[in-house]
């Protein structure tokens, strides 16, 4: 077996093992403990937490809701993000760095403040309702806040830069002569894009989708701030268990479930990326 890849991997793996794998093993142990009262756990080896997880509909509904919302957000992010990434990569505009920098500017303002500021826009007295009323399109303000839609908007706003940057990075590496070459061979611009550019940018798109999917799947703050009572994700159950119920054993059990579910998505991605490289070798 070759040693070089392991040398390259060593720093990352050591850090991950020390800071994630080992601590998470402690957490796994916790999932077998028994919670007696708030913040009081009994050392034990029993399966009541896992049993609750598998038998209780409450958790199943949350998993379903989470997967559904993650898919919606991922698809929308891909659709919204691909074209700007394409623009940034292909533009002749000299200050391209500025376009990239603008993407991360929102991060300068605390995530919580940014999320809260959607109320200023979509709320009853928000900018959008004000504009529509001023234009005479509507008489009374539309109730837009605190619905699933606002949660999705909030997610898209936070995660879109991840999608755009990932796609951009792989588009930027494509030889710019390829599309014109395809055109001279008689392809329409659309065909040239579909046959040449899109396949070559897939690794970036896949990476972006993976990130958006797992980030959405693991969130809890956005639905808490922008959603109504029925908008919650699996992460909210974990947050409830760990922070409000101070029930670490159940929190640990739920966290592991989320880890396994999202981990499966990563494995699928990893397989896909591998295949992608294979198919390239044959081309």
């Amino acid at each position: 077996m070759e040693r070089r890849p392991w040398i390259l991997l060593a720093p990352a793996l050591v850090t991950i093992v020390m800071l994630v794998v080992v601590p998470m093993s402690f957490i796994l142990v916790y999932s077998f403990y028994e919670n007696i009262d708030l913040a009081v756990d009994r050392v034990a080896f029993q399966f009541s937490n896992w049993q609750a997880l598998f038998l209780d509909n409450y958790y199943r509904i949350a998993i379903w809701k989470t997967l559904r919302l993650s898919v919606i957000v991922t698809v929308l992010a891909a659709v919204l993000g691909y074209i700007p990434a394409y623009f940034i990569a292909m533009t002749k505009f000299r200050q391209r760095w500025l376009l990239l920098l603008l993407l991360i500017l929102p991060f300068w303002i605390s995530f919580i403040i940014r999320t809260l500021s959607w109320i200023h826009i979509l709320g009853n007295q928000g900018a959008l309702n004000g504009l529509l009323q001023w234009l005479g399109v509507i008489d009374a303000p539309l109730q837009m806040m605190f619905t699933e839609a606002t949660v999705i908007v909030g997610f898209l706003h936070v995660f879109l830069p991840y999608m755009i940057l990932n796609v951009y990075v792989s588009l930027e590496g494509i030889d710019r002569n390829l599309e014109p070459a395809a055109r001279t061979l008689g392809a329409t611009p659309w065909q040239a894009f579909l046959e040449v550019t899109l396949p070559l940018s897939l690794p970036g798109l896949a990476a972006g989708c993976l990130l958006v999917f797992v980030l959405t799947g693991g969130s809890y703050v956005t639905p808490l701030i922008l959603g109504g009572p029925s908008d919650y994700l699996f992460g909210n159950l974990i947050h409830d268990a760990v922070v409000s119920e101070l029930n670490w054993p159940m929190g640990a059990t739920l966290s592991f479930t989320l880890l396994v579910l999202l981990g499966a998505v990563v494995v699928a991605y990893s397989r896909l990326m591998g295949l992608n490289q294979l198919s390239k070798a044959f081309r």
Binding site: N35, D37, L38, A39, Y58, A62, L116, I119, H120, G123, N124, Q125, G126, Q143, M145, F146, L224, I225, G228, P229, S230, Y232, N236, L237, D240, V242, V243, S244, E245, L246, N247
Partner: protein, 387 residues
């Protein structure tokens, strides 16, 4: 943990090795880690290290930040540091759950001394968890100015000595927008204003389990300190949930929702409504019958340097400090208005009790509430999510 610099850490390590606590390899490893820590973080930590070196003793205070910490810094911490040569490191927490989680995970209270703690139930929880200290009241002369009525519930839990000094109080009553709800209607309906069907989609609520249970009890006509029918409580919570636009979880959210008229009625913290009124928003506040009152204390954790902590508490209870904090956060001070003259701004605060007896306020009885907390928190988390 006291703020220790690398030299001190090295000495502690050497001492431990001498005692056989640490074997040589762990020692070298830790030494290396200590070295890296110092190296990497050197530049950033310089300021803090200087603070640590200059100081005799360091006290760590954790509170709500913002106006409260500004007022405390100016009126209590700075004068205290000048007078004693000790250092107060103040930081912001998001709530006591967070501190308890940290302490529990770390297995000790190192780095935590004084908390701005909410409610008698948290007092009881800290004490039950074994983190209570024993204050020597003789070292806190300003405690004499604190209302007897506000100290009593704390003494009921720890009869022999206090672990905390009460600092401020407020109520969780009902806020309503006077453009849409009249005073007469609000007062006639009381807690049931939150269940008015015509206001569906314009009703808010505090998403805290204990609060939902309290209001569920009021709405189902029960004594909140002696709930007998929990099913009725949760039925009311469900009824409320189906009308609610949003459960808020922070004062910032509460104020935003009310100010922007996203909601017209909600439970609310008295101090936040006072802040809205000050800015001219048409929001009125009422305490329904048996509305919830609460108090906050400055809790000293076990293992803290007691004499220094007591002295600091005395600075914090100084009338000027206490009044400045009260004006900043808009919750009345725990000082007895019969002994310490209050400013007009404080007299105008909702929930302010000029008698100093607090006879009209109903506090949560930790004896009936704390043992049930695990159950009602879990129950509410499910009801909140449609269960």
């Amino acid at each position: 943990m006291k703020k220790i610099d690398s030299t001190k850490r090295y000495e502690i390590l050497r001492e431990r090795m001498g005692n056989g606590d640490v074997d040589r390899r762990t020692f070298m490893g830790l030494l290396g880690a200590a070295g890296i820590t110092t190296g990497v973080s050197g530049g950033i930590m310089v300021g803090m290290a200087q603070q640590a070196r200059a100081a005799g003793t360091t006290l760590n205070f954790e509170g709500w930040g913002g106006v409260v910490s500004e007022a405390l810094r100016k009126n209590a911490f700075d004068p205290y540091e000048a007078a004693t040569g000790n250092t107060v490191v103040d930081s912001t927490f998001g709530g006591e759950n967070e501190v308890l989680t940290k302490i529990k995970a770390a297995g000790n209270t190192d780095g935590h001394n004084i908390l701005h703690s909410s409610g008698v139930s948290w007092y009881q929880r800290w004490v039950d968890a074994g983190y209570g200290s024993e204050l020597n009241e003789a070292n806190i002369p300003n405690l004499a100015n604190v209302m007897e009525a506000i100290i009593a519930p704390f003494r009921a839990i720890t009869p022999n000595s206090l672990s905390a000094v009460p600092y401020d109080y407020g109520t969780t009553g009902i806020a309503y927008n006077t453009k849409y709800v009249t005073k007469e209607e609000a007062e006639a309906l009381g807690a049931n204003l939150l269940l008015k069907k015509e206001l569906k989609g314009k009703i808010g609520g505090w998403g805290d389990a204990a609060n939902r249970a309290w209001y569920g009890a009021l709405q189902s006509g029960q004594d909140p300190n002696n709930i007998e029918d929990w099913d009725a409580v949760w039925d009311k919570a469900r009824e409320h949930r189906d009308l609610v636009l949003k459960y808020w979880s922070s004062g910032a959210e509460l104020m935003d929702l009310l100010a922007k008229e996203e909601i017209y009625v909600t439970e609310a913290w008295s101090g936040r409504v006072a802040a809205l009124q000050e800015q001219g928003h048409p929001i009125a506040y009422m305490d329904p019958k048996n509305g919830l009152a609460w108090m906050e204390s400055m809790f000293v954790l076990k293992g803290s340097p007691m004499a220094e902590a007591e002295e600091l508490l005395n600075f914090m209870l100084d009338p000027a400090t206490s009044i400045a904090v009260a004006e900043g956060q808009k919750y009345p001070s725990s000082l007895d208005p019969n002994k310490v003259p209050m400013t007009d701004a404080i007299k105008a605060l909702p929930a302010y009790d000029p008698t100093g007896k607090l006879a009209n306020l109903v506090f949560r009885d930790p004896v009936t509430w704390n043992p049930l907390e695990k159950d009602y928190t879990a129950a509410w988390n499910r009801v909140a999510k449609g269960g």
